[in-house]
């Protein structure tokens, strides 16, 4: 008597499990298609692992940039061990951006997850794009740039501010060709990714 089950055991009925499973798969398919058409905006925020973003052309309105410090979740972050879990970054904020031929790759222990979008006629569009990068290169031109403005008093994207009394610059618009940047964090309110493709490759962007 003591060894008899006190509660009913159960198991998975696969035909019953297939109902939500198929519904979920269909929904996922629809989401992927909508995203790839650029009809649906998605949201990004990745960090901890350094990743690379490249693009042929970036056109942005409301640009601001300032320096800062990114903290990993703790000091033992393997990517940032030498610097006590911190990274000096420059934060670039773009109110709304159009990006052609976007390529983003993260190195996941030996293999690269590569995301491409905006390769066709429609560019990738992002709003409130915030990029914490350690290295940014490209051929840039700015419109109405203010260099040396206080980072705590930026007006182009007022919701994102740096530390006051530190250096910052802002511009009404920015245009960068052959963008390449090494980043630790990127966030965006919305990201539309027409022509989305995700793949694992041995080589990054």
């Amino acid at each position: 008597m003591a060894t008899k089950p006190v509660k009913a055991e159960g198991r998975v009925r696969y035909r019953r499990a297939a109902i939500p499973g198929l519904a979920a798969l269909a929904t996922t398919g629809a989401l992927v298609v909508l995203t790839a058409q650029g009809a649906l905006g998605v949201q990004f925020a990745i960090s901890g692992m350094p990743f690379v973003v490249t693009a042929d052309h970036l056109q942005g309105n409301n640009f601001q940039q300032f320096g800062g410090l990114d903290n990993a979740i703790d000091k033992n972050n393997p990517w940032l061990k030498s610097s006590n879990g911190q990274a000096v970054v420059m934060t670039s904020v773009i109110g709304d951006a159009k990006i052609t031929n976007l390529c983003q790759s993260v190195n996941l222990v030996g293999i690269n997850l590569v995301i491409r979008a905006g390769t066709g006629s429609k560019p990738v569009e992002a709003t409130n794009l915030v990029l914490d990068s350690t290295d940014l290169s490209g051929d840039a031109s700015f419109n109405n740039i203010q260099i040396g403005r206080d980072a705590g008093d930026l007006t182009e994207v007022p919701s994102v501010q740096g530390n006051k009394y530190t250096f910052a610059q802002q511009a009404d618009s920015v245009s960068i060709d052959n963008v390449r940047q090494d980043s630790y964090a990127t966030t965006a309110s919305t990201f539309s990714l027409p022509g989305l493709s995700m793949s694992f490759q041995s080589k990054g962007c």
């Binding site: 008597m1 003591a2 060894t3 008899k4 089950p5 006190v6 509660k7 009913a8 055991e9 159960g10 198991r11 998975v12 009925r13 696969y14 035909r15 019953r16 499990a17 297939a18 109902i19 939500p20 499973g21 519904a23 979920a24 798969l25 929904t27 996922t28 989401l31 992927v32 995203t35 649906l40 905006g41 998605v42 949201q43 990004f44 925020a45 990745i46 960090s47 901890g48 990114d70 903290n71 979740i73 934060t91 997850l113 995301i115 409130n128 915030v130 914490d132 919701s159 994102v160 501010q161 630790y184 964090a185 990127t186 966030t187 965006a188 309110s189 919305t190 995700m198």
Partner: protein, 162 residues
């Protein structure tokens, strides 16, 4: 006797007292089989994978307002729902449907559902949990035990008829 003590918390009905590791394994297997264990585990893992990819620095994310919060909230909800599926099996239908909805939402809020991987894990888990049901025989065999207050209402522990 290894039945529940009176007033024992529902969330941790196990384990009974054990003499050897074989008994422990058997007890764990029984505990596992009395709940949608693998479904709940997959949902939790899916949410965990998304969180792992989504640890953007809070300072920046907080500036993003509600959108940024959603990126954390959806995977956290998946982790919680997965644990609830394991520790509160009577409400598994509610939890599994909710898990499914959050898994779908994660595509938009959390890095394309943790780059699809976490999303698929959570969806598989939610489906498994949805399909999980107590088997008839075990129900018939089992003693009319459980908490004392259950006894007057009959011995059925099952929520649904099939």
């Amino acid at each position: 006797m290894t039945e529940h003590e009176e007033g024992a918390p529902l969330l941790f009905p196990e384990p009974p007292a054990l003499e050897d590791s074989g008994g422990a394994r058997r007890a764990f297997r029984h505990w596992r089989r009395t709940r949608p264990f693998w479904g709940g585990l997959l949902v939790t893992l899916g949410g965990g994978e998304m969180l792992l990819l989504y640890r953007a620095s809070m300072k920046v994310s907080l500036h993003m307002g509600l959108y940024g919060i959603a990126g954390y909230a959806v995977p956290v909800m998946l982790v919680v729902l997965g644990l609830l599926l394991i520790f509160d099996p009577p409400h598994r239908l509610f939890y599994s449907v909710l898990s499914l909805l959050f898994a779908v939402a994660s595509w938009m809020t959390s890095n394309l559902g943790g780059f699809l991987l976490g999303m698929l894990l959570a969806m598989t888990g939610a489906s498994l949990a949805f399909g999980w049901a107590e088997t008839q025989q075990a129900e018939a065999e089992s003693e009319p035990v459980g908490r004392p207050e259950d006894a007057p209402r009959g011995q059925s522990v099952s929520v649904e008829g099939t």
